[in-house]
Amino acid sequence: MNGGGRAAWRGTDIFLKKPETQFTESDLLAADGYCVDGTRKDGKLLSTFYAEPVWLSVAGTKSVWHIGVREEFLILADDGKLTLWGSEETPLDAGVTSPQPYTVDEWQGDELAAYLVGTDGAVRITADSVGEITPVALKSYGGLLKNGRIFAADSLDNYRIFWTGEKGISDIIANENLGWVRLTGTQGKIQKLMNMESDILVVRERGFAVMTAYGNPENFKVTSYRMQCPQVNADSVAVIGGKVYFFSDGKIYCFDKSTVKPLDCPSAADMSGVTGAAEFEGAYYIAGRSARLGKKTVLRYDPSDGSVDYIDCEADKLCVNGGVYCFGGRFAYAPIKGGSYRYYVGETDLGKIGTKCITRIETRCANPVRVTVETECGTKSYTSFGAVYPALSGKKFKFTLTAVGEVTRFAAFTEVIK
């Protein structure tokens, strides 16, 4: 009997016993998360740009364009009034009304002039003057300048595209020397025209057409595509590298001149009420309301790697001029590189079910990093110069990292209690 009792105390039995605690390391850079004013790329976090707000006296932004001849932005407010904004704000007496007003540049003698064209009139803008509104005989919208001609949709027949002759804007004002083509098919009305490489993209209600228009009108061609396409929000359309991106019902879609496909971008479901879009350095930007952030914001989607980030500003419209300028409410947001950014890690159990204690959080950055940990028991913030030791317990955690400069490591060490 004694011999059997000794065997029960042999060391192997002790080592086979499950330990009370386990120590694990979780790479938080690999966890589900999203950046605001920054991005996660190649296993590290870095800032993109943040939006510096500038107060404007405009009452909401309906449309905005960059006017090259003045190096200023032209803002059309919701009340139809125009404002030029560059180094300073210049309210204009003129204003236009249109569902999709547009701007075109035109050389007149030795002078370059920009025209803002609405359905009721056109406003001439030069380097040193802004003219009064000139009534237009042709009611057009959503137009653009291509190969020396103005192309625009007809306000009285929303399926028709007009193009001007040699006189450009004068032909619009006088309604003469115009050619036209009426689109067929079941893709709905024309919403606007956009430049797409050497062609013209025709944005319709439920699809796209592509118009080639080089040389004489005899060479013009319109290609309509048969496609399964959701309702197209014209304000969300941007062209990136010959492909068309747009937002519809919580998804980002891509039209590649043959078919429309939804992209694998779950974060897009976070957005709604998209009112503006832009392309910059190969990325797709949309302005809308974010459920995650609980407010209006700008989402940046990079088709090359599928990454999604946010820019923290309450924007309605976007305009590109060496960066993405955002406009909303009574503010313009100028893009500034190199600011602080935030990285939110979604709720995580750090790979282990049960109660855990976070014993250590490590960061690697040239600057101090602010780390916030949120559990069911409470929230605590720490400033990390390399490592912090929270000793926080919980089953699930949320982490927020705020930093300036590149962060190449963000890891949590936990001890599983039970």
């Binding site: 050619g179 083509v181 009426r182 689109l183 057409a209 061609k221 319109v222 290609t223």
Partner: protein
């Protein structure tokens, strides 16, 4: 055959001679041919524009107007020529041929080639080859009017009567 190249209510068509009816039929045939060709051309252009998605465009409308205007212009010329021919070509009396007057335009200011074409067209409008040859061989006006071309036309008309 429907006749619409000229306003036939201006004429007593039932009183037309065979030659006049032949002129009318010939002119109407030319008009119908022009309209047919116009339709074919429009179909070709419609297909070209359709292939380019420009079927409903100002370009096709302009092309259609251009082709139609050209067709209308040619029809107007034929109609004008026909009306002139009908006005100078009264119905032949029952014993025609010996009157010494020609039923075609006799204008000595015209070149021999033009005279030849007028007389040739007139005789070719006569459907019966035997009657045509008989009338031509008794046509003393033509003999003087055409000069050396009379024999040439005789041979041509003879070849048509075989």
């Amino acid at each position: 055959m429907m006749f619409d190249i000229i306003d036939t209510t201006k004429y007593d068509v039932t009183a037309f001679s065979d030659v006049q009816m032949s002129m009318l039929r010939s002119a109407q045939k030319k008009k119908n041919e022009l309209l047919h060709n116009l339709e074919l051309d429009l179909r070709v252009f419609r297909n070209v524009f359709l292939a380019n998605g420009m079927e409903f465009s100002s370009l096709f409308e302009a092309k259609k107007a251009e082709l139609t205007a050209e067709c209308d212009r040619q029809v107007a010329i034929i109609a004008e020529q026909l009306e002139f021919s009908l006005s100078v070509s009264e119905p032949l009396p029952p014993e025609s041929g010996d009157t010494g007057e020609a039923d075609y335009i006799v204008d000595y200011s015209l070149s021999y080639t033009e005279r030849y074409a007028i007389v040739r067209d007139y005789y070719l409008a006569i459907p019966d080859p035997a009657e045509r040859m008989e009338l031509y061989s008794r046509d003393t006006v033509a003999r003087e009017y055409l000069g050396s071309y009379y024999g040439t036309l005789y041979n041509v008309l003879y070849s048509y009567s075989k």
